[in-house]
Symmetry: C2
Subunit: 200 residues, 2 copies
């Protein structure tokens, strides 16, 4: 790994574990096995690293199976849920977005970008006639992001995120009858095979 | 107000503003206008105050209008959403439950108690034949708590919780077609009159 990538990973691990307030540049440098000088050569502050991690999301999440509309929205949230337990960059993002004072500008707000991606999927689902008449796609996209945020917060202390995929699937099973026409709801697939296909 | 109540309120305001890590006992005493000695006479640590605030929730939330089943579940979440912007104890609870390391035991976990209350309402709704066949009431109760948690987190930096009632109403409007039979869904009422009736 290049030094910069090593530093981003070390920062992500530190933010995920200690939050923004509990993280110091020297703690990051130490975890990266680098001197403070090397650290400051690449990043001028922990805030710069935090912003980089937040603005990079949700790019680390790419569902491996090709899908469209409703199934793509499901795959995106499942990929995130399966990826989170082992991905410090996603964990840091999930934690930093809660430290609200520093990271409220729209361009570092990952909730907002997630909502935009899900809205695109739901609009595509509408064009594919998967949605029930009268569904408010914007409201539903916000609801999905809110519930994933809430589920992630409850999942961490209980199971270190291990139960997150089950919570996301459960969310969809509750929501689908409101969102999708029965024929489209019946076709939606869940489970680890949606996100692990690429590595088989 | 008695000294103890003054201290709880001062602690709630401080936790809501600075989080658990950013709060010190002297900051609480100062805000309460009391000496450190007076503070320690009542509470031995900031942790004791934090636990008291968390275990007291959601008791501060009581919908003023009499209702049952689905409407009671709606009223409970609306009362919380309208109350939060002006209630430091609820705000502190909302923030402290995110500081996961310290407050993960079931009896201080307000998410868990909220889920239990909503489950009771949904089970009552089932007995009143308000629910669609096959609705998983436990999963739905968890989904409602997750989305309220997520909505609250996004609402604070954007609007200091002012848009929270609209977000909660939007959540219900998305969910109701999945939860309720059409006749019951149509009867559900929203809006400030559900929670302000008592003060009129």
């Amino acid at each position: 790994m290049r030094t910069r990538a090593v530093l981003v990973r070390a920062a992500a691990e530190t933010f995920a574990e200690y939050g923004f307030a509990g993280t110091t540049v020297s703690r990051i440098a130490e975890r990266a096995g680098l001197t403070l000088g090397a650290m400051y050569f690449h990043f001028k502050s922990k805030e710069e690293l935090a912003r980089l991690i937040l603005t990079s999301q949700p790019e680390p999440v790419v569902p491996p199976l090709d899908s469209r509309g409703l199934q793509h929205a499901v795959d995106l949230t499942l990929a995130w849920a399966y990826e989170l337990p082992g991905n410090p960059v996603l964990q840091a993002g999930a934690r930093l977005v809660l430290e609200q004072r520093l990271f409220t500008e729209p361009h570092v707000n990952s909730h907002r970008r997630w909502t935009g991606l899900l809205l695109e999927d739901l609009e595509q689902a509408r064009r594919r006639r998967e949605l029930r008449a009268g569904v408010d796609t914007e409201a539903c996209a916000r609801l999905i992001v809110s519930s994933c945020t809430g589920a992630q917060i409850q999942s961490r202390p209980k199971t270190s995120y291990r139960d997150l995929p089950a919570r996301v699937e459960e969310m969809w099973r509750c929501l689908l009858p409101a969102l999708a026409v029965p024929s489209a709801a019946k076709k939606v697939r869940f489970g680890e095979e949606r996100v692990r296909a690429a590595s088989l």
